[in-house]
Each structure stands twice: as structure tokens, then as C-alpha cells.
């Protein structure tokens, strides 16, 4: 109960600060969320330079449309939803430059931009298991990959992921299960089958 009250106070404070364009509060939010925001965008689009640019664009949107944040939900999912919409718009503009074979069926899906260097997952993998998963994540359908990363990297709840993706919670859970099933194969192929 105390935690809830604290969380409400915190989000209400953020909502008020955004309405008033409080620079101190914005600087604090940037300090707290910038790292996660760039990470999320990097995993969505696969290019660090574009991720940094889109993160800056996201913060400008937060400044311009801060009054739309109602303070009833946590700030992070709202921020990620803005970033995601910007990434989708950006990728749609870039769509002509991307091979059509890579395009997902879902019009809202976000895909990795082709890059000459290692994928963001390969660059960020710090353990043997993570390295094995990096290859699978690269080829995983974008909608599954995104749901998995929001749940297990960003630690968002299912309802918060649904808010970011603009889909029902049931769709989110189903994407997570399918994504997990696809990733488990990284270990099964290495002789670690669950023995069905």
C-alpha cells in the first residue's frame, strides 16, 4: 500500500513536471532512462547511431507532448511507446532501402536495419549462453523479439508491454511464449534437448 502510494506520488510528480516543462525533472528523467531507452531502440533497429538519434527525438517529443502523460501509469512504458512509434515511422521511411524479404507481415513490427558490423546482440553478449542466443535473436520474428526484450531486459509487466505495443495482454503473452520456444532451440540444437 505504501509502495503504491509512493509510486502514484512519483508518477503524479512526473506528470506535473512534464506539464510545466520542468527542466530539472526532465534532466533527472534523462539520467534515469536514457540508457534503457537507447538500449531498447538499439535492439529494435540494430544501429547505435540511429538509436541515439531516435532517443534524442523521443525526448523532444516528451518535452512537446508531456501534457499527454496522465501520471496514472509508470513513465517508462509511456516513454517506450513514444520511442517505438518513432522507430516505426523512421523504419517505414527507410523501407525502400530494406530488402523486402526481411519485412515482417505485421505492419507494426519493427525490424533490424542491416548493418556491416556485429549485430547489437552479438556486441552486447557477455556470456556463453548470451552469445548462443544472439544468433537466434537476430533471426527471431521482430514481434517476438520485442516482447521478450521488454519482459526480460526491461522488466516491464505484461500490462505495460501491452501498453507499449498497443496490443492485448493475451497477444503479448503468446508472443513471449513463442519467442521463448524459438530461443530454447539455441540450446536444444547444441544437444540440450528438453527430451520431448
Amino acid at each position: 500500500m505504501t509502495l503504491n502510494t509512493t509510486a502514484e506520488t512519483e508518477t503524479a510528480k512526473i506528470a506535473r513536471g512534464l506539464r510545466e516543462r520542468d527542466m530539472e525533472l526532465l534532466a533527472d528523467l534523462v539520467e534515469r532512462c536514457q540508457h534503457r531507452l537507447v538500449r531498447y531502440l538499439l535492439y529494435l533497429i540494430g544501429r547505435r547511431d540511429y538509436a541515439e538519434d531516435l532517443a534524442q527525438e523521443t525526448w523532444i517529443r516528451v518535452l512537446q507532448r508531456g501534457s499527454q502523460y496522465n501520471g496514472r501509469q509508470r513513465f517508462d512504458p509511456w516513454l517506450f511507446a513514444i520511442a517505438r512509434n518513432l522507430a516505426i515511422d523512421y523504419l517505414r521511411k527507410k523501407q525502400k532501402g530494406v530488402q523486402t524479404a526481411c519485412l515482417p507481415n505485421d505492419r507494426d513490427a519493427v525490424l533490424l536495419l542491416p548493418s556491416s558490423g556485429p549485430s547489437p546482440f552479438e556486441a552486447a553478449a557477455r556470456s556463453e549462453d548470451a552469445i548462443r542466443l544472439a544468433g537466434q535473436l537476430q533471426i527471431l520474428p521482430p514481434l517476438y523479439r520485442e516482447a521478450l526484450l521488454l519482459r526480460f531486459q526491461e522488466d516491464l509487466s505484461l500490462a505495460e508491454i501491452a501498453q507499449v505495443l498497443g496490443t492485448p495482454v493475451t497477444t503479448v503473452t503468446s508472443r513471449i511464449y513463442r519467442g521463448l520456444a524459438a530461443l530454447r532451440s539455441a540450446f536444444e540444437e547444441g544437444g540440450d534437448s528438453p527430451g520431448v
Binding site: R21, V30, E52, L63, L133, T173, G195, V196
Partner: protein, 155 residues
């Protein structure tokens, strides 16, 4: 040998437990089953390993990233405020103008009542209200538009 239908039902439950969707009673049933089922035990281990692997991606922090964003935001805050200022000035002018006309109308009604015992005619009352009330208040409203920056008293 693990029966397929047993697998499917329990493996759905295991998936749900990792996403945080099972009740306490379902969790007990699941644990009871896993204790006796090697296939499901392995499935739990692999799922846990997959999730642990997902958490082991460590993205390096760009040291200047937050500072750059703060700088850009400071610049944009100034632009947004400048963009909003003309609207605020015109809104304040409109409010001052309305108050000027409403106030003048009220003063005119009071002046008409006072004019009778003081033997003023209607034209004199109208001229008095125009010169001593309507024009000064209208000029004050105009000052809002001509004043510079902070002298307007509008943030």
C-alpha cells in the same frame, strides 16, 4: 516415457510460471509434476537458462549521451516557450479588452444613475465614460502588446 498431452499441459504451465502468470495452487501442482517428470524438469532448466541468457546482454553506456540530450532539451525548451509566448500575449490582450468593455458598461450604468441628481445629460455621461474609463483601460490593454519581455508580466 512422457505422455504428449501431459507435456503440453504442463509445459504451458511452466511457460506461464516464467512470465509470472500462475496462481499459488497451479505452482504447487506444477512443482509436484516436475519432481516426477524428467522431461519437464529439463524443460524448466532450458527455459530458465534462456531467460538468464536474455538478461546477460550488457549494453555499453555512451558517457556523453545523457549530457547531449539534456543540452538539446534545454535548447528546445526555450524554443517551445518562445513559440507559446505570442499566444499568451494575445490571450491576455483579449482578456484585458473584454474586461475593459464590461467594466465600461458597468460604469456607464452607475454613471447614468448618478447623472440624474447631478443634472448631466446622456451625451455628457457617455463622453465621460469614454474619456475617463474606456480609453484609459483600452490603452492599458494595448500596453500588453507593446511592452517588452518581462515588463508584460507574462511568464
Amino acid at each position: 516415457m512422457i505422455r504428449l498431452e501431459c507435456d503440453k499441459r504442463f509445459r504451458e504451465l511452466i511457460d506461464r510460471s516464467f512470465v509470472g502468470e500462475v496462481s499459488e495452487s497451479e505452482r504447487r501442482v506444477m512443482h509436484d509434476h516436475i519432481r516426477d517428470c524428467d522431461g519437464c524438469k529439463r524443460y524448466v532448466e532450458l527455459t530458465a537458462r534462456t531467460i538468464r541468457g536474455l538478461r546477460e546482454f550488457t549494453f555499453t553506456r555512451e558517457p556523453d549521451s545523457s549530457a547531449q540530450v539534456r543540452e538539446i532539451l534545454a535548447h528546445h525548451t526555450g524554443l517551445v516557450r518562445q513559440h507559446n509566448l505570442p499566444f499568451k500575449i494575445w490571450a491576455a490582450f483579449a482578456a484585458a479588452l473584454s474586461m475593459s468593455f464590461v467594466g465600461s458598461a458597468l460604469v456607464y450604468q452607475v454613471a447614468k444613475l448618478l447623472a440624474v441628481p447631478m443634472h448631466f445629460d446622456t451625451a455628457q455621461v457617455q463622453a465621460g465614460v469614454l474619456v475617463f474609463w474606456l480609453l484609459p483601460s483600452f490603452c492599458s490593454a494595448l500596453c500588453l502588446l507593446t511592452a517588452r519581455g518581462e515588463n508584460r508580466g507574462i511568464a
